[in-house]
Point group: C2
Chain length 193, copies 2
């Protein structure tokens, strides 16, 4: 099993001994995904928290009018999935799909609880992961409140320059909270300058 990016992420914040690393690896479910494949189903309770080892996934919400809204893109090393469903056992409202052929590691909910219980060191790791993620979510909320669509797009390009390769424009538009048509117009306007 290849857990390179996960172990890299972990080693930034805590140091595992051989036993801890072995145990962690024993509970991870590696999974290979083809482009456009999904993990689990909307409306069911999420059983897994997902770490991306290779490729790019997208987690999004589909509203009653069948419009998609992208919560997150996730590349190597990132965690994704429906955290609310995973944590609280609520039916999932998100879909998570592969934008490219990908390799992911799944942690089942029960194993995650057991991991935290047996090796409290992982509490620190996830505390830091969630803390950092919370900070970036706060910043995204403020960008949505204070910046125009064009400014948000410019920020996106500068912050995630590599994502453009994987991600169709319509999904970037959705992440930014605008329609694909309007993003197209923004791009034209930016080219003219």
């Amino acid at each position: 099993m290849d857990a390179f990016h996960l172990l890299k992420s972990i080693s930034k914040h805590i140091t595992l001994d051989a036993e801890e690393e072995k145990y962690l690896k024993s509970i991870l479910l590696p999974m290979t995904m083809k482009q456009n494949e999904f993990i689990e189903n909307t409306n069911e309770v999420t059983r897994y928290f997902i770490n991306v080892n290779e490729g790019c996934l997208m987690t999004y919400y589909t509203d009653k009018e069948a419009n998609d809204h992208v919560l997150q893109f996730a590349t190597a090393g990132w965690w994704t999935g429906d955290l609310n469903s995973f944590t609280n056992g609520a039916p999932s409202i998100y879909s998570t799909k592969a934008l490219t052929d990908s390799k992911v590691l799944l942690i089942p909910k029960i194993q995650m609880d057991e991991l935290l219980k047996r090796f409290p060191k992982f509490e620190k790791y996830f505390r830091i992961i969630f803390q950092n993620s919370l900070i970036t979510h706060q910043q995204r909320i403020l960008r949505n409140l204070s910046m125009s669509a064009e400014e948000r797009y410019q920020y996106f390009l500068q912050k995630y320059p590599t994502l453009e390769q994987f991600v169709p424009q319509k999904h970037i538009a959705s992440y930014l909270g605008i329609t694909p048509e309007f993003l197209s117009k923004i791009r034209r306007k930016m080219m003219e300058k």
Copy 2:
């Protein structure tokens, strides 16, 4: 010192022994705030993470055009402040002020680090706090992406019915990402029905 709501929040997730509770109390700085008073200053590094024991605070960002954008309202038991500045030592871009006379508890950054080191049990507490907060931030992002201003206001009223008492309409408008004038028009429209 009155740490009632903080201890209540903690006891939901972990159980403290006498020593842990004593140590925790020893590092908390109680502070009384009059309405419209601020904690710390924008542009400086945040030294404290803030827990509200009584009253209501607001954390907001002021952009270049001097428009305020509300990140969060915090009532009894809630944590607030500039988490990015606190965590990463960046200059603060938020202001935190009291909307009513309030009582808060401050944890200095250094003491927080020491607390987590000496009593790793608190890693679990903050892991859960940040995890839950992350979930609510994700949900807020999706509401901003998928709901109209009126729908967001209705959701706000239903979710935080008590906040209306403390919070001027213009700040609710700011939290929702609209102008006070437009919120006023939404309210009129809702009355007419």
